[in-house]
């Protein structure tokens, strides 16, 4: 490219820059489909649509596991003892501070719905185990309480909450 020695840009400069800009846009437009094709396709998105779960068969104290978008989801029908244990601790002192009330829907305190993936390295923690009346992860020893919060062990965060809402008193839509 000729370097400008005088003030006036020439027609050639304009053409070079315009061609370069057009080529850049064309390249980006050509490359985008090659990248976007690896994003979830329509059938995968359809398979990940929200699911409805009927809560009536779940007894008090029972924890069931459902799958949504390939992830295990624990639905825990907590009894009053478990709720009390979750709320009596000073949540500010926990490794990942969060009150139990923020982890359930108002008016549905007995239903704890969490994603069953240990926040350490991704194993599925075992329900009704550990010292906190919650979950115990066998891989590296993380322990979660009856609100799914991390209490002891290498996991950095509480069990994640999936998006969900109650469509009826005993029916919940996850996703």
């Amino acid at each position: 490219m000729t370097s400008l020695s005088s003030a006036e840009p020439t027609r050639r400069d304009f053409l070079y820059i315009a061609t370069g800009a057009a080529a850049a846009v064309a390249t980006a437009a050509s490359i985008w489909p090659l990248i976007d094709q690896m994003n979830p396709d329509a059938s995968t998105i359809a398979a990940g649509a929200p699911i409805e779960v009927d809560l009536s068969p779940i007894a008090e104290g029972q924890i069931i596991k459902v799958f949504w978008r390939g992830k295990p989801i624990f639905i825990s029908h907590r009894n009053s003892k478990e709720i009390e244990e979750a709320r009596s601790v000073d949540w500010h002192t926990l490794p990942d501070p969060q009150p139990d009330q923020a982890r359930v829907k108002p008016g549905h305190d007995q239903w704890l719905i969490v994603i069953g993936i240990c926040t350490h390295l991704g194993c599925i923690p075992l329900p009704h185990q550990g010292d906190y009346d919650g979950w115990f992860c066998p891989c590296h020893g993380s322990q979660y309480d009856s609100s799914g919060r991390i209490r002891r062990g290498p996991a950095p965060a509480n069990l994640a909450l999936p998006p969900y809402q109650f469509v009826a008193d005993n029916k919940v839509q996850i996703g």
Binding site: P33, L34, D36, Q37, M38, N39, D41, A42, S43
Partner: protein
């Protein structure tokens, strides 16, 4: 014809790299300062177009392979999944299927350019033979790729073509069973075709490397067929050939895009949208258009083994062109008789292609036999005799004389383009 590399790395990093792996110098000497005849016309851009199409096919193919399932129960549906569910899947599929057609179109133009201008003649025999090998690899790759969607045409094309090998005496049946991996075309066949279809394009890349290497050793032919004699006959590859190639690649892509976006199924066969049914043979089995001339030759010969032999010979005979053609003159520009036979040959090939799409009955068979006979007569009789009896037109003394006129006062062109050149 490759000049000494004059690449001088300027930055510290490039000096360091160049001393350890002189790849920048190689690219510089092969594609920047490399001298090409100054009179190359647009028929010389199809090598670049073919390289571009090879990259397109490999990129789209690898992406399609992320979504395709090579199993007889899932293959057809996985292709429909690509078309309907995968983001831009329809585009990638149509790019790949029409890309194959464009690849062959460019390949045949490239081949016919070689025939017209005598590019296969001494000292470019090895270059030419590598080209014939590339054609064979392309034919194999395209055939196996077409089987993968597992439509009716996929299945029956696989059956017909693999059955060709049963014509081989003594070992034919065992070879066919070995190819199939079973007692008929089935899942083992589909799986191995998928593996080989993924492999062969990279074999093609390797042979293209040899092809370009062989080219750079002897240098390009040119429309006069007169070899380069001095620096005045050549210009640097960059920017002249680079921009000429790029321009025609873009024009070629316009044609390609017209097929992909407006008539993406025109070159295909509707029957391939029917899932493969081993119990029902389609009424007219036809291969894709780029195989039609060879298909016509195969069906023209009444004997089974004879048809297979002639089919293979039709391709292999191309490799012998450097020795079958006895003319001392390369380019058809200066061979008035050969020029006419060239166009007859071209029409014969197109005619064979058309006949390949017709049912093998009645007048079509007779016509196919006549044209097949002419195809081989062209190579075995016309080429050898023509070189001996033809009176060629007088050749120009050199390329630059042909381009610029005799004795015209021209400034000597060095390998690097002069700054601020007003005209060539």
């Amino acid at each position: 014809m490759s000049g000494a590399s004059t690449y001088q790395p300027r930055s510290g990093f490039m000096k360091w790299l160049e001393a350890r792996l002189p790849i920048a110098g190689l690219v510089y000497s092969s594609f920047v300062v490399y001298p090409v005849p100054r009179n190359l016309n647009y028929w010389w851009t199809f090598g670049g177009i073919l390289s571009f199409m090879l990259i397109v096919q490999i990129v789209t193919g690898i992406i399609l392979a992320m979504h395709y399932t090579p199993h007889v129960d899932y293959a057809f549906n996985s292709v429909e999944h690509i078309m309907r569910d995968v983001n831009y899947g329809w585009l990638l599929r149509y790019l790949h299927s029409n890309g194959a057609s464009m690849f062959f179109l460019a390949g045949y133009i490239h081949l016919f350019r070689g025939f017209y201008y005598g590019s296969y003649k001494e000292p470019r025999e090895v270059l030419w033979i590598l080209g014939v090998i590339l054609l064979l690899l392309m034919i194999a790759t395209g055939f196996m790729g077409y089987v993968l969607p597992w439509g009716q045409m996929s299945f029956w094309a696989a059956t017909v073509i693999t059955n060709l090998f049963s014509a081989i005496p003594v070992f034919g049946e065992s070879i066919v069973t070995w190819l199939w991996g079973g007692y008929s075309v089935g899942n083992p066949t589909l799986n191995r075709f998928y593996s080989l279809h993924y492999l062969l394009p990279f074999v093609i890349v390797g042979v293209v490397g040899l092809h370009v290497w062989a080219l750079h050793v002897v240098g390009q032919n040119n429309p006069t067929g007169v070899e380069v004699k001095s620096d005045r006959d050549t210009v640097a590859f960059t920017p002249y050939a680079t921009i000429k190639d790029l321009f025609l690649i873009i024009c070629f892509c316009l044609l390609y895009a017209w097929f992909v976006f407006f008539v993406p199924n025109y070159l295909g066969h509707a029957d391939n949208y029917i899932p493969a049914n081993p119990g029902v043979t389609p009424p007219h089995i036809v291969p894709e258009w780029y195989y039609l001339p060879f298909y016509a030759i195969l069906r023209a010969i009444p004997s089974k083994l004879g048809g297979v032999v002639m089919l293979v010979s039709a391709i292999v005979i191309l490799a012998f062109a450097p020795w079958l053609d006895t003319s001392q003159v390369r380019s058809a520009r200066y061979r008035p008789l050969y020029k006419q036979f060239f166009w007859i040959f071209f029409l014969v090939c197109v005619g064979l292609g058309w006949l390949g799409s017709k049912p093998a009955e009645g007048g079509y068979v007779i016509a196919a036999r006549i044209l097949t006979a002419w195809y081989f007569i062209h190579f075995l009789i016309v080429l050898p005799i023509l070189g001996l009896v033809e009176t060629p037109k007088p050749l120009p003394n050199s390329i630059n004389e042909a381009v610029l006129g005799k004795g015209a006062g021209i400034t000597p062109q060095s390998a690097a383009p002069a700054h601020g050149d007003a005209k060539v």
